[in-house]
Symmetry: none
Subunit: 195 residues, 4 copies
DNA sequence: CATGAATGAGTATTCATTCAT
DNA sequence: TATGAATGAATACTCATTCAT
C-alpha cells in the first residue's frame, strides 16, 4: 500500500509538474528533464509511468477534462427546467475555471492544439462531455433549445465557454461580479434557446 | 523593379511554404530547412529575410489576419441596418474560410497558440480587427446589440466564429448549405442582439 | 566504484582528446563532434560532462596548470639556497615540458589566448602558481633576487620560461644538452638576481 | 588619383576595423560582415581587397610588425655603445606599445596564435625583426652580450618584451614611471649581457 | 520501481564566400 | 570597383528515450 501510494504520488507529481510547465513555457519549450526535475523524480522514472512525452500531454488533457466533467455532474441538482439547469451548470463551469487558473489556461492554450492526439481530443469531446450532448438533445426535444444540428450546437457551446473564460482571464477582478457572469450566460443562452 | 520583385517573391514564397507546413505538420515538427526547401530557397536565404523561425510564424499570422480584415472591409456595401450588415459580414467571413482552407485551419490551430508572441496577437486583435469593435459600438448605441461589455462581446464573436468554421471544417459538404450557414448566423446573432 | 571510475574515465578521455585536438588543429578548427569521436563517446555525453565547448578549454587549461604545479612542488628537495632551488626548479620545469610535448605546445599556444576565460587565467596565475610567487618574495627578502615589483618579476619569469621551451621545441635535439639548458637558466637567473 | 586614394582608404579602413574587432572580440567571434560594417563598406568590397578572412588577419599582423620595426629603426641615433643603444631601443619599444594600446594588445593575443599562418609568422621574425638579430650578433662579437645561441637570445628578447608590455598593460598607471620602465630594462639587460 | 549517465539523431542559426547588377 | 542578396556547408547544443545498476 505504501509503495502503491508512492507510485500514485510520483505519477501525480509528474502530471502536476507537466501541467504547470506546459502552461507557462509551452509544450515544446518544456523538456522531459525539466518535468522530472520539477516533479522531484529522475528522468528514468518519468518514462516508467509514461511511454512518451506526448503521452504525458494526453494524460494531462484527459485528466483535466475528466475532472471538469466530474465537477459539473457531481452533486448537481437537476431541476428538470432546462434553462435553470443550464444556468446552474454555466455558473459551475465558470466557478471551476476561476478556481483552477492553471487548468483554465491549459484549456485555452491546448483545447485545439496539435500537441494532443486527434483521437484523444475526440474521445474527450464525445465520452467525457456526453452530459452536454444529452442536455442539448433533451432541450431540443422539449422545444426549448433551437433545432439546429447538435454538433453545431456543441461546438458553439464550447466556443462560447472558451470565450467567456478568456474574458474572465483577462479581467480577473470581474470573476466574482454577478452582472458580468450573468451577461456571459445570457449571451450563451440567447444563442441556444429556441425563439 | 525585377530585383525588387525577386526579393518580394522569395519572401512571399517562404511565408507561403511556412503556412502550409505549419498547418500540416505543426510548428515544431516543421524545420527551417523544410520551409526553405518547400519555398525553393537556401536555408541562409530564409534567415536573410527573417531573424528567427518564430518571426516567420508571427509574420504568417499577421499576414493572414490582415488579409482576412481586408477581405471583410473591402467592397462591402454597408446598408446601415446593423443586422443586415452583420449577416453580410458573417457570410463573407464563412465564405473566406471555406475558400481558404489552409488559412482557416491556421486560424483554428494557432489563434491561441503559444507559438505566436503575445504582443503580436494583441496587435492583431486591437488594430487589425478594429472594424468589428466599431460595429459592436454602433449596434450598442442604436440599441440593437445587447448592452454588455464590448470586450466580452468581441471575445464572444471570435469564439462563435471559430466554432462555426470548425463545424464547417468537420463537415465540408455542408459548407454550401444555406440552412446550416444561416443556422450558424442565427446562433451568433441571437447571442448578440438586444432583446 | 566501477561506475565512478567509468565516469572519471569518460570525462578524462574527453579532456585528453580535447588537448590533443586543440594543440594540433586549434580551438576553433576543433568541433565538439571531433572531440567526442576521438574520446570514444557520444556527442551528448560530452555535453553531459561540460556545459559548453569553452568550458572544456578552461578545464584542460586548469588541469595542465595544476599538473605542472604539482610536478614542480611534489618531491622537490628545497636546499634553502635560493639560487640552488631556482636551478633545480628550472630544470624540473624544462624536463616536464620536454617530457610532455603536447602540454608544452598547449602552454605556448594558449597561455595568452582569448579562448580561455580571463577569470580562469587569473585563477591559474594566482592560486596555482603561488609557489613561484612565494619563492620570489623569499629571494627578495634575502637580498638575492632583485628588488623589483613582484608582479613584474612573475611576468618576467613566465615570459622567459615560455621563451626557453619555445627554443627547445624548435630544437628538440638540444633538449638533453646540458650546455644549452644551463644557458637558458643562466639567462633567466641573471635577470632575476640582485647585483 | 581620387579613385586610387579611395581604394587605399577602404583597404585601410578594413584593416583598422579588423584590428579593433580581432582584439576586442577575438578572431573567430569577428564575422567578415561585422568587419565590413565597422569599416563602412559592403561585404563584397572586403573580398575585393582580401581573398579570405585569414588573409586579413595575416595582413594586419604583418602591417603591425612592420610598423613596429619601422618605428624602432627610423630616426634612431645609434651610439655604437651596445648597452646604450639597447636601452634606447627598449624605451622606444615600450613607448610604442603604450602609445598604441590596440596594437600592443594584438601583439599579446596573437603573437603565437594559430590564427596566423606559420609562414607569415616566420617571415615576420626573420626579415622584419632582422635588426634585433644583427644587434645581438654585434654584441656577442664585442663580448658585451652573453655568448649563447643567437636563436635562444632572440626568443628570450621576445619573451621578455611580451612580459614587460603585459605588465604595463595590467598596470597602465606605471607606464610613465621611470623606475618601473628602467626596472624592466634592467631585468632584460642583465639576462643578455656577458658577465 | 527508481535512478541518472549515456546516447545520437535532430535543428536553429551562423558565416565565409560568390556573383549578378 | 562596389554592392548586398543569396548560398549551403558547418556546428554547438538539445532532448526524448534507453538501460545497466
Amino acid at each position: 500500500m505504501s509503495s502503491n501510494s508512492t507510485t500514485t504520488d510520483k505519477k501525480q507529481a509528474i502530471l502536476d509538474a507537466a501541467l504547470q510547465l506546459f502552461v507557462n513555457k509551452g509544450f515544446n519549450a518544456t523538456s522531459t528533464a525539466s518535468i522530472a526535475k520539477a516533479a522531484g523524480v529522475a528522468t528514468g522514472t518519468l518514462f516508467h509511468h509514461f511511454p512518451t512525452k506526448n503521452d504525458i500531454m494526453n494524460q494531462v488533457f484527459l485528466a483535466i477534462k475528466q475532472e471538469f466533467a466530474d465537477n459539473m455532474v457531481t452533486s448537481t441538482q437537476f431541476s428538470g427546467d432546462i434553462e435553470q439547469d443550464a444556468y446552474t451548470l454555466w455558473q459551475k463551469a465558470i466557478d471551476w475555471a476561476i478556481a483552477q487558473p492553471l487548468k483554465q489556461l491549459f484549456f485555452l492554450q491546448y483545447s485545439m492544439s496539435a500537441d494532443i492526439d486527434v483521437m484523444i481530443r475526440k474521445q474527450a469531446m464525445t465520452s467525457i462531455l456526453s452530459f452536454v450532448v444529452e442536455l442539448i438533445e433533451q432541450g431540443k426535444q422539449q422545444g426549448i433549445i433551437a433545432n439546429f444540428p447538435s454538433e453545431l450546437l456543441l461546438e458553439n457551446c464550447h466556443g462560447q465557454y472558451l470565450a467567456a473564460i478568456r474574458f474572465f482571464t483577462d479581467n480577473p477582478h470581474l470573476g466574482g461580479d454577478k452582472i458580468h457572469r450573468d451577461a456571459s450566460f445570457t449571451l450563451f443562452w440567447h444563442a441556444m434557446k429556441a425563439q
